[in-house]
Amino acid sequence: MKKQTLAATKVSDFDRLNRDWYIDKTVQALVFIGGISAIIFIIGIFVFITKEGFGFLVGDFSFKEFFFSPNWRPTSENRATYGILALVAGTASVTGLAMLVAIPFSLGTAIFIAEFATGKTREFLKITVELLAAIPSVVWGFIGLAIMNPLIIDIFDVPVGLNVLNAGIILGLMAAPIMTSIAEDALKAVPDRYREAAEAMGATRWQVIYKVVLPAAKNGLLGAVLLGVGRGFGETMAVLMATGHAINIPTSVFDSVRALTATIAAELGETAVGSPHYQALFTIGNSLFIITFIINLIADLVVRGVRKG
């Protein structure tokens, strides 16, 4: 009999919702807020920059002028024009040159670190790359201004050293470390048994890399390149300081240009809140947001493809 009453008390006991159960549920709710915060912020960014630029979108905005006119004259007394074509050309030329520099160097470095370097060398290179990625963009801008500028003037005998070449190299050096570490991760994700199988068949190291590792890591490497493009595209301080900041559709690498991001950084402080100019700058920001969103989305899908495979 005694046993039965004991059992009976235990029955009611274990399913009671005790303090710990409630604490657990509370914590779950709290950390969920943290989890969805990223979504809230992304939506918030879009909402607020759209809201601030809304007056321009429904007012002075003309799709044709905005995207196809090279005339960015927001402060013109007679008739302000808001064409971002020249700014797009500035951003595109600098990012393009940067990728030309960064893609071969970062992929080469990633392959060297992942497939050839060993032990201490490897560790040293990895740490160096990581530290390079940490240098703030305003420092890179300063380097472009103070070191690259006179160098370019001397070497190429041109009047101005703040141009596509300068900003492209600076941006390339900035993007390369990040691309290197993502590309290296992608190479490391290729299982060793692939390499071993190929080596067992008598392939040399470079054959293994060329015929086995690179095809297998293809998507990850593409993801690295895309993220590098996104980074170069959205970079602000370095391009503001190293491009020369002249509205111009460049015809050579020695032309000064002006980037989309730099335009916002340089002009926003001088505009009145709510003015068409201010709203136009927010609309540029909105375009930047949408484009980087798409780039990141594609990069994510591409990299996810490699994980499934």
Partner: protein, 292 residues
């Protein structure tokens, strides 16, 4: 049998190519790293002579061409601290949710995508958001609070990713053993998972400090100003900041002695790289210390 291992002509060719390939890749690595080392050398060479106790701890004078950088240094520290107060709790919570509670479904994938995008949004767009949301909508004005919150949102992914990685490094078997004893998820996190992930989380936080202290664009219109004759008294005041100060002294001030911007750049880069090295050192120490 012996002939099998002798180098055939084809193998010779391949080995030659391999050496060439290796040499090429090695040179590329060197070409990527050496210019940067050269640049760093120049920064140190030209900037070191200005660095002194006075430079670090006195106010700028004579249109910032003389004196020190103390208000900017202090401003950066304040901005970083307030940003950490906001982003670390939020980021750690997000990482705990993703690592310990989130089911593997489409909603979790959207959260992950949002985190990736948050990290990829251009810094100037974050600045626009900070201006529209914190300065104007929430009426914080251009202030340390508005600038720090902007920085916090921008660097949130750094904390989330680092924390999630260190949480997931704790083997699943420990969690299951703990759950099997009747521990709730939170009890398991608090007693087993977090204590073993805390150093990893710390590396992430230090990394965030490094990122935050170097950012310029997000604070330009939200709270940092070119020059301020007094130190900030609270989070609703504006402030100077090291990164913006470098921009100002190198582009905005005529008649600037050449060495001053080098000095500012050197201080900024030293701050950032010291934090990064600390984070790397902590990570390597962690790797050497096995707990299971």
């Amino acid at each position: 049998m012996k002939t099998m291992f002798e180098a055939t002509p084809i193998n010779h060719k391949n080995l030659g190519r391999q050496k060439l390939f290796r040499f090429l890749l090695g040179s590329m690595t060197a070409l990527l790293i050496f210019p940067v080392i050269l640049i760093m050398g120049t920064l140190i060479y030209k900037g070191a002579p200005v660095i002194s106790f006075d430079f670090l701890f006195s106010n700028p004078t004579n249109g910032m061409t003389e004196g020190g950088i103390f208000p900017a240094l202090l401003g950066t520290i304040l901005l970083v601290l307030v940003a950490l107060l906001a982003s670390v709790p939020l980021g750690v919570a997000a990482a705990i949710y993703l690592s310990e509670y989130a089911p593997d479904n489409w909603f979790t994938r959207i959260i992950n995508l949002a985190i990736i995008n948050l990290a990829g949004v251009p810094s100037i767009v974050h600045a626009l958001f900070g201006l529209g949301a914190f300065v104007i909508f929430f009426r914080f004005g251009t202030s340390i609070l508005a600038a720090s919150l902007t920085l916090a949102i921008m660097t949130l992914p750094v904390v989330i990713v680092a924390t999630r990685e260190s949480l997931q490094a704790v083997p699943m078997a420990f969690r299951e053993a703990c759950w099997n004893m009747g521990a709730t998820r939170w009890q398991t996190i608090r007693r087993i998972v977090l204590p073993n992930a805390i150093t990893g989380i710390l590396t992430g936080v230090i990394l965030e400090v490094s990122r935050t202290s170097g950012e310029t664009a997000p604070i330009m219109f939200t709270g940092a100003v070119f020059f301020l004759p007094f130190l900030p008294q609270g989070v609703f005041d504006q402030t100077m900041a090291l990164s913006l100060h470098l921009f100002v002294v190198s582009t905005q001030v005529p008649e600037m002695p050449e060495a001053v911007p080098y000095g500012v750049a050197l201080v900024l880069i030293a701050l950032v790289l010291m934090m990064n090295s600390l984070s790397i050192a902590l990570r390597m120490y962690l790797r050497g210390k096995k707990k299971w």
